[in-house]
Symmetry: C2
Subunit: 189 residues, 2 copies
């Protein structure tokens, strides 16, 4: 018994994820996606209401996997400070991939019109990141949890940008060490 071929919907999502991330949402047409996915054009519009919905599904998938990866790395620790630092481990994992091209939400937003689903996905992701860091900083008992979360997020975003723009994934380790310094030198109650 051979493994069954994934559904057209699944193949569309996988192909869209790869192409949208690698080349940008605007640059990749649906003809290209259906060709590389080996799917009929009608199947795209059967499974999704249009390209916009496919883009939204692509970003939702990215958000979910990012969250899962991060939580997986954090689960190895119980100390909230260690959990904060583990956020960088999740980033380290992907930043070294040759296909790494930075934050998919930021990238999609650059091409998006105001009020689009892409902007909503960016907001959602940034909200998750901010609140995740803040709640850990509160849990760790920092005197100024907002300030600590802001500094960690700054370093996180810096690592993302550096890995993307300078093809310099080592920046993630650097950011983690700077974050460790910040976390160790910030006053706690």
């Amino acid at each position: 018994m051979s493994t069954k071929r994934p559904s057209a919907r699944q193949r569309l999502l996988e192909t869209a994820d790869r192409l949208f991330y690698a080349e940008g949402v605007h640059a990749v047409g649906i003809d290209r996606i259906i060709e590389e996915a080996g799917v009929a054009k009608g199947s795209l519009f059967y499974n999704f209401s249009g390209k916009d919905a496919l883009v939204a599904a692509y970003l939702e998938g990215r958000h979910q996997r990012r969250r899962e990866r991060t939580e997986h790395h954090q689960a190895a620790f119980s100390d909230p400070v260690d959990k904060l630092l583990a956020t960088f481990d999740a980033l380290d994992e992907v930043a070294h991939l040759p296909t790494y091209r930075g934050c998919p939400f930021a990238n999609a937003s650059v091409e998006a019109a105001t009020g689009s689903a892409e902007l909503a996905a960016l907001e959602s992701f940034r909200g998750w990141l901010r609140e995740m860091l803040l709640s850990l900083a509160v849990e760790a008992g920092y005197a100024d949890p907002e300030g600590v979360a802001d500094r960690v997020r700054l370093l996180y975003d810096g690592a993302v940008a550096n890995a993307q723009l300078d093809s310099h994934p080592e920046a993630v380790r650097l950011a983690k060490e700077l974050a460790r310094t910040v976390l160790e030198s910030s006053p706690r109650t």
Copy 2:
């Protein structure tokens, strides 16, 4: 004597700069540009070989002005450490503008095809930033100038990303303070 109307070329560059930065290169068509610039379509192709050349000119202008702004802020100091910190002042100036949308080179690159002028402009800008920071770190006599320059650039990029993605321009001041800590605690020869 009233002020003369700028040339069609100048109006095209100003309009393209505003629209490309605000809405993205792909999202803005040449019809939109010539309409808002009050210029005939023929004049666009008379002054530029095509949209690509207009985009390249837009990015060149951004690069030049960024460099000028940075050098202007650095010129207020003689100590290379102060000059390194002054880099953030130049960023602070623009990050607070309501029109701020992050790094124009990174944004244009997201939409660009491999081998495009946009990617070349990004490379050029990143090369300038890296070498500017490195040469100041060398001048300041740091034992590990590359490491210092990498850390400062990480904070710089983090501030850009934070200001853009979270509409949080205060991150620039935060990054500058973190950079000050890094610069003051790094060993010098």
